[in-house]
Structures are given as structure tokens and as C-alpha cells.
């Protein structure tokens, strides 16, 4: 029963990832693609959580935290680059 529900939710998650990849390929502007990558990171977090319930292992929780942090940093860097042209601004006091 539990395994069946988990397989069903993994299937739904695969559909969600497929749809997001469709927008990643098609998206008209660069920000659409950044947004699709962000959603892809969040869906990967969900996939790792479901998989760790599926095999009843607690060894993958660091991966959840790590993907969350890396996806957030990548999104912020891309958005800053598109908005201002640079990611890290130089010191302007000289």
C-alpha cells in the first residue's frame, strides 16, 4: 500500500519535472529559463525526499539541504546577472 502510493507520487513528480523541462526548452525569455531551473531544483528536493521514504533510509537528508542551498544561490546569481550585468559588484569607494 505504502509502496504503491509512493510510486504514484513519484510518477506525478516525473510528470511535473517533464513539464518544467518543456518550459525550460521553450521559454521565450532568459528569466523563464531561470525560473524553470529553480522549479527543477525544488522538484529534485521532493524527489530525494520521496526516494528516501521509499527505501526507508535516512542517509539522504544532507542532500536535501544541500540542493536547497545551491539552487537558491544559483537563482540569486542568475537574477542579479540579468538585472545589473554583474554578479559581484566592485568596490566603488576608490
Amino acid at each position: 500500500m505504502i509502496q504503491g502510493i509512493l510510486l504514484c507520487s513519484l510518477t506525478f513528480l516525473s510528470f511535473a519535472i517533464f513539464v518544467t523541462v518543456f518550459r525550460l526548452v521553450k521559454g521565450p525569455t532568459a528569466l523563464d529559463r531561470v525560473q524553470a531551473l529553480d522549479a527543477l531544483g525544488i522538484n529534485l528536493i521532493s524527489g530525494v525526499a520521496i526516494f528516501s521514504v521509499f527505501i526507508r533510509s535516512t542517509g539522504f537528508f544532507e542532500v536535501i539541504l544541500l540542493i536547497g542551498i545551491l539552487s537558491f544561490i544559483g537563482t540569486i546569481a542568475f537574477a542579479r546577472f540579468i538585472e545589473r550585468g554583474v554578479v559581484i559588484e566592485r568596490n566603488q569607494s576608490d
Partner: protein, 121 residues
């Protein structure tokens, strides 16, 4: 034994609800007309979905007596940063002149931004 089985079933059901919410937000992500409405659908629905899934996972291992502080920090971090990243993306999109949908009727931010640019020069 039976009670633990039912609580595990409830946790797995939370995971299923979260996955369905995430799937619906992904459907909104391909069907809506412009970037701002897509960000609206995606950030809310996907954040709610991943929070349901992570809380379900947390409860699933919590009834076995395993309190995972890393998973708890992961829940807190995703809950804090997913709306922030959506806000930053939409702000960058508006500042780099991504057009609104044809159906949108008014744009209050445009006048404010023009006034700001006028005051700076």
C-alpha cells in the same frame, strides 16, 4: 503495530497531496500567458508541494523515533528561500522589460519607476 502503520499511511498520504500540488503548479507553469502569472502559479504551488512532501517525510521518520535536525533545517530553509527567489526573479524580469500579458489592465509600478528615474537625473 497497527497504529504505527496507520500513521505511516497518513505521512505517505501527505506526500501524495504534496506531489499533486506540485504537479498542478507545473501545469500552471506551462499554461499561463506571461512570466508574472507563471511565477505566481509556480512559487506558491511548488513551495506548498515541497513543504507537504518534506513534512510528510519528517513525520514518517519521526514515528520511528528518528528526529532529523538536517531535514528540519531543510524544511525551514526551503520555506524561507523559495518566495525570496521568486521575488528576485520577477523583479529582475520587470527591470529588464519583460512584457506583461495582453490581458493585463493596469501597471502601477511603471509610473513609480519612471518617477524614480526622473528624480535621479
Amino acid at each position: 503495530m497497527n497504529v504505527i502503520n496507520q500513521i505511516e499511511l497518513a505521512a505517505v498520504f501527505l506526500i501524495l497531496v504534496g506531489t499533486i500540488a506540485s504537479f498542478l503548479s507545473a501545469i500552471g507553469f506551462i499554461r499561463l500567458p506571461d512570466l508574472y502569472t507563471r511565477a505566481h502559479a509556480l512559487s506558491k504551488g511548488s513551495t506548498m508541494g515541497v513543504l507537504f512532501i518534506l513534512v510528510g517525510t519528517f513525520f514518517f521518520f519521526f514515528i520511528d523515533g528518528y528526529f532529523s535536525i538536517r531535514l528540519f533545517l531543510g524544511i525551514l530553509f526551503v520555506f524561507l528561500t523559495a518566495p525570496v527567489s521568486a521575488h528576485v526573479i520577477v523583479r529582475a524580469a520587470y527591470r529588464s522589460n519583460v512584457p506583461l500579458a495582453k490581458e493585463s489592465v493596469r501597471d502601477d509600478l511603471k509610473e513609480v519607476l519612471q518617477e524614480e528615474v526622473y528624480n535621479h537625473k
